[in-house]
Symmetry: C2
Subunit: 205 residues, 2 copies
Amino acid sequence: MSLPPKKKAENGTPKIWDFMRTHDSVAILIFNTSRQCFVVVKQFRPAVYMCEMERNHPQNFEYKDQESWCPLTDHLPASLGITYELCAGIVDKPELSLEELACKEVLEECGYEVPITNLKKITSYRSGVGVTGSKQTLFYAEVTDEMKAGEGGGQPEEGELIEVIEIPLQDSMNFALDETFPKTMGVIFSFMWFHTNVTPTLLKQ
Amino acid sequence: MSLPPKKKAENGTPKIWDFMRTHDSVAILIFNTSRQCFVVVKQFRPAVYMCEMERNHPQNFEYKDQESWCPLTDHLPASLGITYELCAGIVDKPELSLEELACKEVLEECGYEVPITNLKKITSYRSGVGVTGSKQTLFYAEVTDEMKAGEGGGQPEEGELIEVIEIPLQDSMNFALDETFPKTMGVIFSFMWFHTNVTPTLLKQ
């Protein structure tokens, strides 16, 4: 997945930059109208765990250039690597549209069979501009309990182990801004987007 | 900077994961009250450029495993690698607080000498959970024209080449949601945060 550093001249000065080649992705803010809650996923992230490992045991990272290096001499609870995220997936099937991929992820990860017409594109942006630079397109999907077609949880055969979490609408902004729940900016941004763009409509109904 | 893949057993299944070791970071939403505009930065991102290169010339990436591989046979305009971002920097000076680092970045990149008391922490989140997993803390800084102490532009000796851009408040949400301006989610989220949390106060004044 990683590429060798490439040289790039900018302003006449050669520059070397490390980066990783990754896929574009889709992310989906899911709101269950039957129970007025957001549906997000919770999963173990090896990269987050390693960050916490280094934060807690910086001395273990001093010998990282050695062949036999292993930072896992003092184990930390796996919970330190857990993050709350939007349902999301990479764009790796050229035959499917972004909307089709988004529906597929909602089904695989969260168990809802959502019609493509229930998807609304919010916007797109660049993620990880420092190292990956890929584009993520963010969708909003309204679901109901009737659309529940499975348990979700991702594809265990691909190593996915995903817990589906419901966040009640009335708790959502407290959750979004509470730093004791580690999460991606996608969760915070999309909850705020919902409160600005969707909540006023809900109140009218 | 990159580490070898590590094995991690989850649910009893061994898992191999590529990731990069990166630093935590700070990002700052800057609002100039003298001229009622946001101050953001614009810069060339090698990783974004390579993504666009692959999107436009996928055939050049077919031989990527060869020793002599070079994807740059057809050049694309450098503008395809340009993104709009919040002023930001990595946390690489243990002797400085996050607030002090944020003030330093505002001065280096945007040229404003901002008192630490003008900084307000918005929240923190995990960035790039798939590959880096580091934590970013987001601040809000109000500045005035009187605080202008330099041109900004980053540190050319470290290879930074940053353009300082002002986005008028009244155009900011259109800018945030206009996908023809490639940008990070940080820009979109923080502009929306401002409109929800700061604009009401401005209107009262």
